[in-house]
């Protein structure tokens, strides 16, 4: 069990993590989501006692990280940035970590085997590919056979087979009763592995919910209607109490009516339709909607916007 209480980190006048309070429960995979720069990595570094919180604190099984004796036997972490000396062989890297944390030597071979790095155990990570480096980081996390595992974007740099492998590994670790806390900015990735979700944006907690609830609430269906007479169509819909949402290019999204009903109504009022298509918002869109107000770095849209001016607006969804 990891508990964060009012965890805050400021860099100068920038608040990277803003009064985060949540707990990570054992026995499940908890996904930690947020757009770039949301503060995921910073939060994880504070959990490991690497960065000092400006205020608030993190407890691991009730203790501060630096109060843990042999911390690698409690919690193993794969960090975002490389944390390996390129000139020290994979085996020796794990050996020095095992020695300080009272981990038996045979665990080194076991984890190297598990992550598929047995053949390069005596090689220096300087020459490792991105994926191999990632696997060494995962081996280090698993070294102390810890009850809690933390992965910061573990699929980074892995090939499809590696991604598949890490997904199964996380599920397997959770099925053994371990706490798995994993960050990502891909909702689709999380929906495959995580049972619980913690979403942050600009350092603030946006959602702390089970995956099932999130899906139920957010898998919105609607009908996209495109017409040369949007004002008339809006009035038609308003007559039955429905308020469409306009998309940037003028199409409207109608919720609460089947396509057939909308089509019949349009025909009755003689409104020309160019498009009438049922849509299902993806989880990714739901996630983007949730974090829309708090996206740190907006991509500037290419080309002019519908009203003819050059698009300075971010990739913000309404």
């Amino acid at each position: 069990m990891i508990e964060l209480r009012e965890l805050t980190k400021r860099y100068g006048d920038k608040t990277a993590v803003d009064r985060l309070t949540f707990s990570v429960r054992p026995g499940i995979v908890t996904g930690f989501l947020g757009p770039n720069g949301a503060g995921k990595s910073t939060t994880m570094r504070m959990m490991l006692g690497l960065d000092k919180p400006t205020s608030g604190d993190v407890r691991i099984n009730g203790k501060r990280y630096d109060q843990l004796r042999d911390p690698l036997q409690y919690i193993g972490a794969l960090l975002e940035a490389k944390a390996v000396h390129g000139g020290r062989t994979a085996y020796n890297h794990l050996l020095c970590m095992a020695q300080s944390n009272n981990v038996p030597k045979k665990r080194i071979d076991a984890v190297l085997d598990l992550v598929g790095l047995k053949e390069v155990a005596k090689k220096r990570p300087k020459g490792f590919s991105l994926g191999m480096g990632q696997r060494l980081g995962i081996a280090a996390a698993l070294l102390g056979d810890p009850k809690i595992l933390m992965f910061d974007e573990p699929v980074n740099g892995l090939d499809p087979e590696g991604i598949h492998w890490i997904r199964n590994l996380m599920k397997h670790l959770a099925s053994e009763g371990r706490t798995v806390f994993v960050s990502s900015h891909l909702m689709s990735e999380m929906s495959l592995t995580a049972e619980h979700l913690v979403v942050i944006g600009r350092g603030k907690l946006l959602a702390d919910t089970s995956m099932a609830d999130f899906i139920a609430e957010n898998s919105r269906t609607f009908v996209r209607v495109r017409t040369p007479e949007p004002e008339r169509m809006r009035d038609v819909l308003a007559s039955v109490g429905i308020r469409p949402v306009f998309e940037q290019d003028g199409a409207m999204q109608v919720e609460g009516m089947a396509p057939a009903q909308i089509g019949e109504m349009a025909a009755w009022y003689r409104v020309v339709l160019h498009e009438l298509s049922p849509q299902k918002a993806s989880l990714e869109e739901a996630f983007m909607q949730l974090t829309a107000g708090s996206v740190e770095y907006h991509a500037h849209e290419q080309g002019p916007t519908p009203d003819g001016r050059n698009g300075q607006a971010g990739r913000r969804r309404r």
Binding site: L50, P71, L72, K82, G87
Partner: protein
């Protein structure tokens, strides 16, 4: 096994498992002994051409350790690589995740590296002395002469302290590039220049290397300092402690 012992073992594994780091120690020994031998051989052949004053203040022990001016740079490189290398590679995050007790971490690292440097430093100092004296021939002194053993032991301690000073400063600077850029020119050039220029001389003699040098001398007049060999050593120890304490404070305060 107590916690500290395990951290010490882990730090020992770290040091011995990076080849480039070990090479700096081999370099420190080879350069110091080799260059000292060259200078001794040259001095022996040219001794009659020295001025009266130079002959009177000739220090056979210092001469046989004169290659340390260059060799110490490799010792500094060792100190920088052991500490700042953790930061530049990101290893520091693994290290501190494994040993979050930062004081224990620093002390263990300094102790292990310091012990290794002391062994290499002593070997360097004694080798340089015996080879140098053999080459100096009739100008040589014996290890049993007054102050000589102290000076030779002092040479080993000097090498150790200069590496520890570099370690302390590296904990402050955290970047190998920055640490090299400051320490190398300083100990190779700046300190010597300040020690030679009349205006800065009386302050420069309190710099760590200038002060520490006195412990390797047996003819005090050759250096002309207002303090003795042990005071000189104490000044260098003070600098080293100050660097390590500064490093400790930075390590305790800053994010990894």
């Amino acid at each position: 096994m107590p916690h500290t012992t395990r951290v010490l073992r882990s730090e020992w594994t770290k040091i011995r498992s990076v080849r480039s780091t070990l090479w700096t120690l081999a370099t420190a020994l080879t350069v110091t002994v080799g260059l000292s031998a060259l200078i001794c051989a040259f001095t022996a052949s040219q001794f009659d051409k020295l001025t009266k004053q130079e002959q009177l203040t000739f220090d056979a022990v210092q001469t046989s350790f004169s290659g340390s001016g260059l060799g110490q740079l490799a010792m500094i490189a060792f100190g920088v690589m052991v500490v700042a290398g953790e930061y530049s590679t990101g290893m520091i995050r693994s290290s501190l995740a494994a040993v979050p007790q930062r004081t224990v971490f620093l002390l263990s690292k300094v102790f292990v590296a310091g012990t290794l440097v002391l062994v290499v430093g002593m070997a360097t100092s004694f080798l340089a002395f015996f080879i140098g004296q053999a080459l100096l021939g009739e100008r040589s002194v014996s290890i049993e002469d007054e102050g000589v053993l102290r000076a030779v032991l002092g040479g080993g301690v000097y090498m150790t302290l200069i590496a520890l000073f570099a370690m302390g400063l590296s904990f402050v600077l955290r970047s190998p590039l920055l640490a090299f850029a400051i320490l190398m020119p300083f100990f190779f050039l700046i300190s010597n220049i300040l020690g030679t220029v009349e205006a800065t001389k009386k302050y420069a003699q309190y710099l760590p290397d200038q002060a520490g040098k006195t412990v390797t001398a047996v003819v005090p007049e050759s250096l002309n300092r207002p303090y003795g060999p042990y005071e000189g050593l104490a000044i260098m120890v003070a600098w080293t402690l100050a660097a390590l304490i500064a490093g400790w404070i930075v390590l305790k305060q800053r994010d990894a």
